[in-house]
């Protein structure tokens, strides 16, 4: 256990008394302790491990105290320890006596670092790792509450202090979890992933209520706990030249109201995948970015895709389609363009197809032949 005792010299003017107090406190808890007080972390840790009782190292005497100790006490990689032993080094003092440039030539940056440790010098300051802060707000109710309307008011009361704490830390909520303790002792738990980080308690309340409308608790509520998953607040630099951007809170609330669509993965921004496979796209979360540099619109016929493509029967003459029959489309081919052949992903799930744009009486369609399966499909209508 490493303790940073800087600043305690006013309360403990003599290190001996401080050390004895630490030993007494450990004994009082039935813990056999060895205590070392030093001006460097490495000296304190190593000497506490090897010397029983209390060890006090005066300032500047770290190297001398560590010199006779074996190198195995210095936390080295096995290869490094074996190498140093081959060189004939056995103690801290042996390593500390070597010149730093020579060690750097042979061991790289690790050489001078190990030499500093052998001399009891810390390479970096002690920086404590703070425990992660939990952003949570709990409201114990004086009497149980049944129904969403009274719950709405209580959710607002529970959300506001949590929102203030997040704002004080420069954070927003990326996700919320709601825990309702019910009268029968059970817990009703809901988790919401926000479409956009939000710090507004009104938006949280709306999204939580929307979720509870579709997933209501089965009993009256006795306590409410809201937990927020923090994320750094986003700095937004608006521009006088760009159009106004949508408010993240308004967007999150709107997407929350469309939870049935977004939760099923059926709402978002289409994004093309870097692939030659036709129809390769994903539906990403709707997070409007900054407007791109405007480019001229390019009006053109668009494909109205069938998902999945419809099986079709195609008659050929001179290797060109002359008749197409598929669900909803049937007729002689009046004109066509093709074939356009493409293939790919041979290293994974191979595909190979031959595409045609065909005009029949009822419209213009894209058909393709799957060359691997020798089957025809109707991909879509050009409109």
């Amino acid at each position: 256990m490493l303790l940073d005792l800087h600043g305690l010299d006013r309360a403990w003017s003599e290190p001996e008394r401080l050390g004895q107090a630490l030993l007494a406190a450990a004994r009082a808890r039935q813990v056999e302790a060895q205590v070392a007080l030093a001006h460097s972390r490495v000296a304190a840790l190593v000497l506490a491990r090897v010397r029983p009782g209390l060890t006090i190292v005066p300032a500047g005497a770290e190297a001398a105290c560590l010199a006779p100790l074996p190198l195995a006490l210095l936390e080295l990689e096995p290869e490094q320890l074996a190498l140093l032993r081959r060189w004939g080094l056995a103690t801290f003092g042996d390593l500390a006596a070597l010149p730093a440039p020579g060690l750097a030539e042979r061991l790289g940056p690790a050489g001078p670092r190990l030499r500093r440790l052998a001399r009891g010098e810390d390479g970096q300051p002690l920086v404590p790792t703070p425990a992660p802060e939990a952003f949570e707000s709990t409201l114990e109710l004086d009497w149980p509450v049944d129904g969403l309307e009274p719950l709405s008011f209580l959710l607002a009361r529970a959300s506001e202090p949590l929102s203030e704490r997040l704002k004080a830390r420069g954070r927003r909520a990326a996700a919320l979890s709601l825990e309702l303790r019910l009268v029968d002792g059970a817990f009703h738990r809901r988790s919401l992933k926000l479409a956009a980080p939000s710090g507004e308690p009104r938006t949280w309340r709306t999204l939580l209520l929307l979720d509870l409308e579709t997933h209501p608790p089965h009993d009256a509520v006795g306590a409410i706990t809201i937990r927020a998953e923090p994320t750094p607040a986003r700095d937004v630099q608006f521009s006088l030249l760009d159009p106004a951007q949508p408010s993240p809170e308004a967007l999150a609330e709107t997407l929350g109201r469309l939870h049935d669509w977004t939760a099923a993965g059926r709402a978002g921004s289409p994004a093309l995948v870097d692939s030659h496979r036709p129809g390769a796209f994903v539906v990403a979360s709707f997070v409007p970015g900054r407007p791109a540099r405007p480019a001229a619109a390019n009006p053109r016929p668009a494909l109205r895709a069938f998902r999945p493509p419809l099986p079709a029967q195609v008659a050929l003459r001179a290797e060109r389609p002359v008749f197409v029959a598929a669900p909803g489309v049937r007729g002689a081919v009046l004109d066509c363009a093709g074939p356009w052949r493409a293939s790919g992903d041979w290293w994974d799930t191979a595909w190979s197809r031959e595409e045609w744009d065909v005009a029949v009486a009822s419209g213009v369609y894209r058909i393709f032949r799957d060359r691997l399966r020798d089957e025809w499909f109707l991909e879509g209508e050009l409109d």
Binding site: P243, L258, A267, P270, N298, P301, R304, D383
Partner: protein, 227 residues
């Protein structure tokens, strides 16, 4: 011009609820410019574009250019930095076609249905309209069974029109035949005239669709639309 004749002209314009386009805006009245479709010929036909705050429709036969026109509108909207929504109950939108038309896909919100619940799609349109975040909303009804359209209460369109009024968004229905439009909206009919091909032999390509466009309510002649 004398004061009396000016007064008569002003009264005539007020009766028709039309004021001179070059005149200064009336105090307290928000005049919304039409939303350009991105196709100059259609904008000319419609007097500048689709009216904002109104329910309009584009309907026509297969391969008449309905989807290409709607995507051009979405491209114009997203390129200008605004947001567009495409409510697609039949899940027919092709993202590659949208991108090729110039739509900024990161600013297009796409709702993909399963072809069965048009009522849910209409409810989603109402939610999107009410948010006020989208400048263009397209509800694609092409390809849905007629029974699904008939099952939808007729008051749905009246409700959507009322929600659209006073907003800067344009709500556009895509359909195979006439569905509905608002009192200030337009009903654009497209009649397919056939595909346009370029080149010959193995290098032949489909390069466009020829169609005739006609806008109801407006005293304009039909024009040829080439996409």
């Amino acid at each position: 011009m004398s004061t009396a004749s000016l007064k008569l002209e002003l009264e005539s314009l007020l009766r028709e609820r039309r004021l001179h386009a070059d005149g200064p805006p009336l105090r307290g009245v928000r005049r919304l410019s039409p939303l350009s479709t991105g196709i100059a010929a259609i904008d000319d036909l419609l007097g500048g574009g689709l009216p904002r705050g109104q329910l309009s429709e584009v309907h026509g036969s297969a391969s008449s250019g309905r989807t290409g026109l709607a995507l051009a509108l979405a491209a114009r909207t997203t390129q200008a930095g605004a947001l567009a929504a495409w409510v697609d109950p039949a899940d027919r939108l092709d993202p590659a076609s949208a991108a090729a038309t110039g739509v900024d896909l990161t600013r297009l919100f796409w709702l993909r249905g399963d072809g069965r619940s048009l009522a849910k799609a209409a409810s989603a349109v109402a939610t999107l309209l009410g948010s006020g975040l989208f400048e263009t909303l397209v509800l694609d009804l092409v390809g849905l069974p007629a029974s699904e359209l008939q099952r939808l209460p007729a008051a749905t369109w009246i409700r959507l029109q009322r929600m659209a009024e006073g907003q800067s968004a344009a709500l556009l229905l895509l359909a195979a035949s006439h569905v509905a439009r608002g009192p200030g909206g337009v009903s654009l009919t497209l009649a397919a005239k056939g595909p346009l091909w370029s080149g010959a032999g193995p290098g032949r390509l489909l390069c466009g669709l020829d169609a005739e466009a006609h806008a109801s309510r407006l005293a304009k002649a039909a024009l040829e639309l080439r996409l």
